[in-house]
Structure formats: structure tokens, C-alpha cells
């Protein structure tokens, strides 16, 4: 049955030479700006690296390490976003603006959402403070939060992943 397929299959059945899978991995890399995917299991291994022939643009660009600027923890953590989604429908909620990320309405208060919560498109999932303004950020898509990427009070910029969500 199809539901068994993509990643759900037992390893013994995995055919690493499946072009479709490699293509999915590559698209994954594009989406997340990865420089390399290296999957091994038992004797199996799939490794995909990105970067144009002229690597020095790519290298600093693509690797999270390089994107992360000194004293700027935000990107460093974005290694998180590299983990391949376990489902086609898992997408990233990204920051629409530059500012400081707050997971909750006030210091000390619980976060707006946590992993496992179901949210609507208009559910507020965090606050981004910019120019003394506290902007409430809606999920933008309905679904279940399956991962948090940004950390409380860290600076974020445009396109920076905040949450992973399994869209309905």
C-alpha cells in the first residue's frame, strides 16, 4: 500500500539507488539550503552534496555554519531545519521580518504553541519584536506543530525557519 512507502519502509527494503528518493533528497536540500545529505544504514549509504563547481560561493552560502554570523546564534541553530521532514506535508513556518523572536506573550509565560499542538492558519504562534513593536505572527497554515526551530529571544531575519508544521 502507498501509505507504507516513502520513508516508512523497513531498511531491508530500501533501494538506495531509487532516483525518485535521491530527487526528493535534492529538493529537500534546495528547500533547506543544505550543502550535504549523508544517509547511512547498515551497509547502505546515500550521500548528496550541493555546491557549484566554483565552490567558494556555495561553501559559505550553503552550510549553516557559514551562514551563521559571529555573535548571531540564530543561524547556528538552523542546523535543526536540516533534518529531513518525515512527511511530504511537513513544511516550515518562516519569519516574515527581521526582529527578536519571542515564543510567548510575556517573559516567564508559557509559549503560544508547543510540539503536538494543532493550530489554525490564524493562530498566533509567536511574537517578533521589531522597532519596539511586538508583532503577533500567525501560523499562516492549519496543521500540527511538529518541531520548533527558533529559540526564545533570539534574533531572526527574513526567511529564518521558526517552526515545523504538519499541514492538514
Amino acid at each position: 500500500m502507498p501509505s507504507e512507502k516513502p520513508e516508512g519502509v523497513r531498511t531491508s527494503d530500501v533501494d538506495v539507488f531509487d532516483i525518485q528518493r535521491v530527487r526528493q533528497l535534492v529538493e529537500l536540500m534546495k528547500e533547506h539550503e543544505l550543502s550535504e545529505i549523508d544517509l547511512r544504514q547498515e551497509d547502505r549509504r546515500i550521500r548528496v552534496r550541493s555546491g557549484p563547481g566554483n565552490a567558494f560561493l556555495a561553501a559559505p552560502v550553503m552550510t549553516p555554519a557559514a551562514v551563521a554570523a559571529p555573535g548571531h546564534p540564530a543561524h547556528a541553530a538552523s542546523g535543526e531545519s536540516i533534518a529531513p521532514p518525515h512527511d511530504e506535508n511537513v513544511t516550515l513556518i518562516k519569519s516574515p521580518m527581521v526582529g527578536t523572536f519571542y515564543s510567548g506573550p510575556k517573559p516567564g509565560e508559557p509559549p503560544y504553541v508547543k510540539v503536538g499542538d494543532n493550530v489554525q492558519a490564524d493562530t498566533i504562534i509567536c511574537i517578533i519584536e521589531a522597532m519596539k513593536m511586538f508583532n503577533e505572527i500567525p501560523a499562516g497554515v492549519a496543521g500540527k506543530i511538529v518541531g520548533t526551530v527558533a529559540r526564545n529571544e533570539e534574533p531572526v531575519d527574513v526567511g529564518r525557519p521558526l517552526f515545523r508544521i504538519l499541514a492538514d
Binding site: P52, F56, P60, H72, M97, V98, M131, P155, V158
Partner: protein, 446 residues
């Protein structure tokens, strides 16, 4: 002095500012658009923030995003470079409201000089010659003839609502004036629904000469001599040089003094450029003030040995100028060619694309400021300039020879550039003899 500044720009000028900051030990925060993600100059900064999409309007012009980056980046000042928000007095003001120094003039000075009429008035008040004309509109034919005879023929008839040459006429005598006036008003009425016109002296074959000025916040103003930027097409400069090859010693002194007077009276500080047109008799007339660092600033740096971006940062932080006018030398001759990703054979059509390979000129007296390299994709969203080739030699003849060999050394594969066109200009008798005016490129077949 600042510990940390944000650079609200990209490409060549962002790199230019980063270089000086590194030398001064100042940390840099960069902003970038999605199109510039991973660009090589971003490897050199302390921190960087993506402020939006590829289009300028979505990123490099997004004041709120840039200010947010400045705040989380915790900078003390913003350097706007040129273009984008460099002469946006609102952005300038927002920075001040957020207690972030804007590395440039005050919003007020920027605003005043930004308005052509106010600037023109300030020039008059500073006894700086402006192109003579009818102060105000021309009511009657008689009126026109009187003014024309005051300022002297040939005269230019301009529509107040004008633009793109519409409603413009040149007249060489009373008779021509009357008919031209007729046509101009009709055309203006048709084109803009506003028939009002005014008169201005028509300057034939003008050269473009600008004076680099530097002013601190303590009232000290100096000039870094002039630049001649007459080699241009449709007001886009292609080649700039210093000193101006056609100015007599006395004219040179008075044009530089005029610029200083004007900047002083405007209570202007930081770097600025006062632009003039100069006619064949070396009469000069004020046009406008550029309240920013300019693309062609390196030619002034070469002849004076003064790092203009360093001075911008120093005076913005409140320092006094460390030198007086008499300390500012003008040694040798500097020429700059703007290398644009354009096809000169197809009316300078911009040609973004991938630079497959590039050989960069070097050697004695050669400076090449560029952010590009083999494998770089010139994005279609921004200015087509990919580098500035500057030479500095003892004489103009040597400078021209060095520039030609440097342009020949600059071999770029993947996209066309203006380099070949510039070689032809530099080899042309008119350029060598200093006979190029602002219309020369358009009228000359190379």
C-alpha cells in the same frame, strides 16, 4: 569612534565600506536580499541579516526591516553607501529617531539640498553662479524677448511641468525665440496640460565638473579638488578623472571655493559633491549637490591620498577633520572607468548573468574595486556596475596608457561589459585632447 556600523547597501560599495571598517577595527553588520544570499562580500562582515526579497523595494529600500536589523545588530551608525536610501531624508530622520547615527548630512541639510529650487536659491545666496534664466514663468512674448536679451542667446525654453525633452526648444535670436515659444507652449499644454514655460541660458557642449567636499560637525569645510565626468551617456557617467583636464588654475580655484562656500552656508556636514556644468569659455554654473559618497569618489582618493569613507565615518562620529585645506595635495592624475555588465553595441543594454571567468588587472598604479569573481551571478535586480577600474599615474598621458592596458587585461567571460567601449573612448583624439563634453558619446561613432 564607532565600534559597530550597519551597511545599508550591497555589492561594490558595501565591500568598499567593509574594507575601511576592517582597517579601522570597526565591526560590520550587513543586510542582504534573498538574491544576494551568500554573496562573497558577506563573508567579510561580523553579522548579516536578510531583509527581504530580491527586488530593491522588498529589501534594500525596506526602511523598517533595515532599522530592525540595525537594532538587533546593535549598531551605533548606518552607512547608506550610494543609491538605494542614501539620499532619502526620511530614512535619515528615522535613524536619528532611533538614536542611530546616519553617516551623511543631517536630514535637514539633505532635504534642503535635495530640492532643486531651494538649492538654486542657496547657490545664489552663496554667490555661486547658476545657469541664468527667467526667475519664474514667462508671461508674454515681450517678456521672453526681454529676458532672452538679458541673459543672452542661445536660450532654452523649458516647460515647468516638463520632462523628457517635451516642451523644450532652443532659440538663437528674437525671431527664432518667438516661434519657438509658440511651439513650446502648445507642446507643453498638449503634453502636460500646462502651458507655462520658463527661459534658461542654453549652454552648448558643456563639461560636467564636480567638486568633492568634506565637512565636519565643527564648522570646518575643505574640498578635495574636482572631478571631470563629461564622458557620459544619458547622464550616466562612464569615465571620470581628476584633476579636470581643461580647467585653468584660476578657474579651478574659484570653482572649488564656490563649492566650499555653498556647503558652508548649507550647514552641511560629512562628504558631499557639488556639481557644475562648465562651458567652453570655462564659465561654470551650479547644477546640484549630491549629499552622499559618489561612485567616482576613488579618483579623488588617489590624487589626495585621503580615504573618503574613513573621513565620512570619522566626521559622522563627531571627530574634527585632522587636516586643513592647505594640507590636501593633488598629485598626479587619476582616471576611473565604471565597468558595467552592459552591451555597448546594443545601446548599453544591461546583461546580467554568470561570470564564467575573469582576469583582474593589476600592476603599478592600478586599483580595481569589485565584488565579483569567477562563478558570480550578476543579478538582474540591481545596478549593472560590476566594478570600478581606477588608475593613478604621474601624468594624464601615462594614466590613459595604463588604463588602456588595464582594460585590455580585464578579460571577462560570460557577460559583455563596457570595457571595450571605454578603450575606444580613451584612444580617441577628442578624449586625449580633453575635448569630450556631456553629449560627446551620443554624437560620436566609435
Amino acid at each position: 569612534m564607532y565600534n559597530r556600523i550597519l551597511i545599508a547597501n550591497r555589492g561594490e560599495i558595501a565591500l568598499r565600506i567593509i574594507r575601511t571598517c576592517k582597517e579601522l577595527g570597526i565591526e560590520t553588520v550587513a543586510i542582504f536580499s534573498e538574491a544576494d544570499r551568500g554573496a562573497s562580500w558577506l563573508d567579510l562582515v561580523t553579522e548579516k541579516y536578510c531583509v527581504g526579497g530580491p527586488r530593491s523595494a522588498d529589501s534594500y529600500l525596506k526602511i523598517d526591516q533595515i532599522i530592525s536589523a540595525a537594532e538587533i545588530g546593535n549598531v551605533e551608525a548606518v552607512h547608506p553607501g550610494y543609491g538605494f536610501l542614501a539620499e532619502n531624508s526620511h530614512f535619515n530622520e528615522v535613524c536619528r529617531d532611533c538614536n542611530i547615527d546616519f553617516i551623511g548630512p543631517s536630514p535637514e541639510a539633505m532635504h534642503k539640498l535635495g530640492d532643486k529650487n531651494t538649492a538654486r536659491g542657496m547657490a545664489r545666496a552663496s554667490k555661486v553662479p547658476v545657469v541664468p534664466g527667467s526667475d519664474g514663468l514667462i508671461e508674454t512674448e515681450a517678456d521672453a524677448v526681454r529676458v532672452a536679451n538679458e541673459i543672452g542667446y542661445p536660450v532654452l525654453i523649458k516647460a515647468t511641468a516638463g520632462g523628457g525633452g517635451k516642451g523644450m526648444r532652443v532659440a538663437g535670436n528674437d525671431l527664432a525665440l518667438k516661434s519657438a515659444l509658440q511651439q513650446a507652449t502648445t507642446e507643453a499644454a498638449a503634453a502636460f496640460g500646462n502651458a507655462s514655460v520658463y527661459l534658461e541660458k542654453y549652454i552648448e557642449h558643456p563639461r560636467h565638473v564636480e567638486v568633492q567636499v568634506l565637512a565636519d560637525q565643527h564648522g570646518s569645510v575643505v574640498h578635495l579638488w574636482e572631478r571631470d565626468c563629461s564622458t557620459q551617456r544619458r547622464h550616466q557617467k562612464l569615465i571620470e578623472e581628476s584633476p579636470g583636464p581643461t580647467l585653468s588654475k584660476t578657474v579651478r580655484k574659484s570653482i572649488c571655493d564656490a563649492a566650499v562656500r555653498m556647503i558652508q552656508n548649507a550647514k552641511y556636514h560629512n562628504a558631499g559633491t557639488v556639481e557644475f556644468i562648465v562651458d567652453r569659455e570655462n564659465n561654470f554654473y551650479f547644477i546640484e549637490v549630491n549629499a552622499r559618497i559618489q561612485v567616482e569618489h576613488p579618483v579623488s582618493e588617489m590624487v589626495t591620498g585621503i580615504d573618503l569613507v574613513e573621513q565620512q565615518i570619522r566626521v559622522a562620529s563627531g571627530e574634527k577633520l585632522a587636516f586643513r585645506q592647505k594640507d590636501i595635495r593633488c598629485e598626479g592624475v587619476a582616471i576611473e572607468c565604471r565597468i558595467n555588465a552592459e552591451d555597448a553595441t546594443r545601446n548599453f543594454m544591461p546583461c546580467p548573468g554568470r561570470i564564467e571567468s575573469i582576469c583582474i588587472p593589476g600592476g603599478m598604479g592600478v586599483r580595481f574595486d569589485t565584488h565579483v569573481h569567477a562563478g558570480y551571478d550578476v543579478p538582474p535586480y540591481y545596478d549593472s556596475m560590476i566594478g570600478k577600474l581606477i588608475v593613478h599615474r604621474p601624468t594624464r598621458a601615462e594614466a590613459i596608457a595604463t588604463m588602456i592596458r588595464a582594460l585590455e587585461e580585464l578579460r571577462i567571460k560570460g557577460i559583455p561589459t563596457t570595457a571595450e567601449f571605454q578603450i575606444k573612448v580613451l584612444q580617441h583624439k577628442d578624449f586625449v585632447e580633453g575635448k569630450v563634453d556631456t553629449k560627446w558619446v551620443e554624437r560620436t561613432r566609435l
